[in-house]
Symmetry: C2
Subunit: 327 residues, 2 copies
Amino acid sequence: MGEFELLARIRERLPAPGPRVRIGSGDDAAVTVPGGATATSVDALVDGVHFRLDRTPLRSVGHKALAAGLSDLAAMGAEPGEAYLVLGVPTGVTEEDALELLEGALALAKETGTTIAGGDVTRAPALSVAVTAVGHAASEGALVSRAGAKAGDLVAVTGSLGGAAAGLLLLERPDLAGRAGPEAEAEARRRQLEPHPRLAAGMALARAGATAMIDISDGLGADAGHVAERSSVAVAIDAQRLPLDAAAEAVAAAAGEDPLVLAASGGEDYELLACVPREVVDQALRGVEDSGTTLTVIGEVGPGSGVSIRLASGRLMKPSGFDQLQR
Amino acid sequence: MGEFELLARIRERLPAPGPRVRIGSGDDAAVTVPGGATATSVDALVDGVHFRLDRTPLRSVGHKALAAGLSDLAAMGAEPGEAYLVLGVPTGVTEEDALELLEGALALAKETGTTIAGGDVTRAPALSVAVTAVGHAASEGALVSRAGAKAGDLVAVTGSLGGAAAGLLLLERPDLAGRAGPEAEAEARRRQLEPHPRLAAGMALARAGATAMIDISDGLGADAGHVAERSSVAVAIDAQRLPLDAAAEAVAAAAGEDPLVLAASGGEDYELLACVPREVVDQALRGVEDSGTTLTVIGEVGPGSGVSIRLASGRLMKPSGFDQLQR
C-alpha cells in the first residue's frame, strides 16, 4: 500500500470543509479560524485492545473511533468542529479496507457536522485509529468541565445504560445468539458497535447550567468517580433509578447476568452524566428532551468523596459491581 | 501497568500550561482560547516503522515524535501552542520507560514553549506515539501553505541537509563506527535522533513574505515535489548549492556514499524549504539568521510541474537519487 496514494484517495472522499476550516487535509497542517473557546480531545482504538477486528465491521471501527472523540466534546457541551485521524494499518488490511473504515467515520462526521480536516496513515503491527476531536463554544464559560459539581446538585444521565455492555456480551458469547430475541440483540450490538455521541444533549445541558459533565465511556461508577474526584465531592446514585436499556435487560436475562451490573460497570454507552443544580433541572430536562433523548435523575451530589450506588435492598453495591476493570 | 495510574504520574510531571490553555490534561477535553488562526498537525511514530526501539533511546523517541509535529507548525510559520500525545505501550515497556519517553517530549516542549495539554495511554502491540500539534498565528493570512509558490520565486532551505540520513546510516551499519570521527558521528546521530524544528526560522520566513513552505521530512526531492504539485509550478534545484551537513559529508565519505544523495533523498532533517519572492530574499535571509540558523538559496520556481535537481556536470539527478522510497 502506498501511503501517499492512499492519502490521495482518502482526500477525494472528504466532503467540503466546515466554516472554520481554511486549509484542510493535504498541507503541513490544517488551518482553522476557531474564535471563542475550543475543546480538544485525543483518543485511540487499537485492534485486540479496544475492539477485535475479527468480529467488528471496519465501518464500525471508523464510526466508533470518531464517536468516542466526539463524545468527549459532548461532555464539554461543545459544538463539534474538526477531527483528525491517524490510521495504523497492518499487513493484510488492504487499501479498500482502510477506505471502508474511513467511510464509517465520514458518515458520522456528516451526521454530526464534523469536518475531517487532516490525518496520517502509517504502517503498524495492528489496526489502530487515533482521533483528535476539536469542538467549539462561544466562550470558555460555555464549556463544562468535570470539576464544578457542588453538594446539593442532582446527578442525571441521558438516554439509557447497559446496552453497549450487552452488545459486548453478545460478541463475546456466540452461544447467546437468538436467546434474547432479534430486536434486542440487534439493538445491543448497535449500541456496542456504533454508539451515537450525545452532542445536542451536551450543548443543552451546558446551556441549562450543568456544573459538571462526563461521558460514560469507562462505566457509570468509574466515570462518576472521576467527577467526584475532580470536583472534590461525593456522588450518591440510586440503583433503582438507573434508566436500564431494554435490550440490556433482555440480553442480561438470557445470559443470567444482572442488568444493573451491565448498566453500572459496562461502559461504552457514551451517554452523558451531568451534575445539575436543582433550580435548573426542569430546564435541563426540557433541553435534553428537545435534543431527542431523555434525561433521568439518578442521584445527588453531597460533601465528601467517592461514589456509592444504593440497591433496592438498601445495601450499597459492592465496588466490584461498578469499578472499571483495568483494560 | 494501570492506565489511570500512569496518566496520573504523567500529569504530575507536566509544567504549568501556557497562556491560551484554560483546562489541561485530566478532563474530557482540554480547553483553550486560541484567537486568530490555528495550524493543526497529526503525526505518528511506530516502533519498527519509523524507528527501532532496540537502537533508539526512549527520550529520543519522545523528542522526535514531538519534533516532527512541531516541524509541521514551523512549516506554516505558526507559533507553537499545544501538543497532545497518544502513547501506545506494549508488554515489556514499563511505566518508567513510558515516563522516560515523556521526559524527552517534555524537554522539547519546554524549549519551544509548547504546552502538553492532553493525551491518552493505551496498550498496543508496538510502542507508538501519535502527536497532535497546534500552533497559532494572528490571522489566517500570517500562515504559509504549500500552495502559494509563483514562477520567479527563489527556493531556499534553512540549515544544512543530509545529517539525519547520515545518522541513520550509522545506526544501520555498526561497522562504520569510528570511521568518520567521533564529532561527526555524534552530530549525525543527534540529527537523526533529536532533530530541532525550525520554529523561529519558520515564523521569520512567514513574516518576510514566503509564498510556500514545507518541512523536509520525506526528503528534499519528495518535499519539493509536494510544493510543486500543490502550487502547480516547477521547482528547479541546483545540487551544487545544497548546504551539505559537514557530518553528513564525513559519514558519507566513510561509507562510500554520495553525500548529495543523502542530502536530496534522506529526509528527516526537519529543515524548512521555502519559496521566496526575489524582492524579499534579503529580508528572509536576515530574519532566518536572527533566528539562529542560515538560509541558502538552492534554486528557483518556474512554470510547469515537477522537480529537477541539476548536478555539477549539467546533467539532472536521476529520480532515484531524490525520490522518497516508500516507507
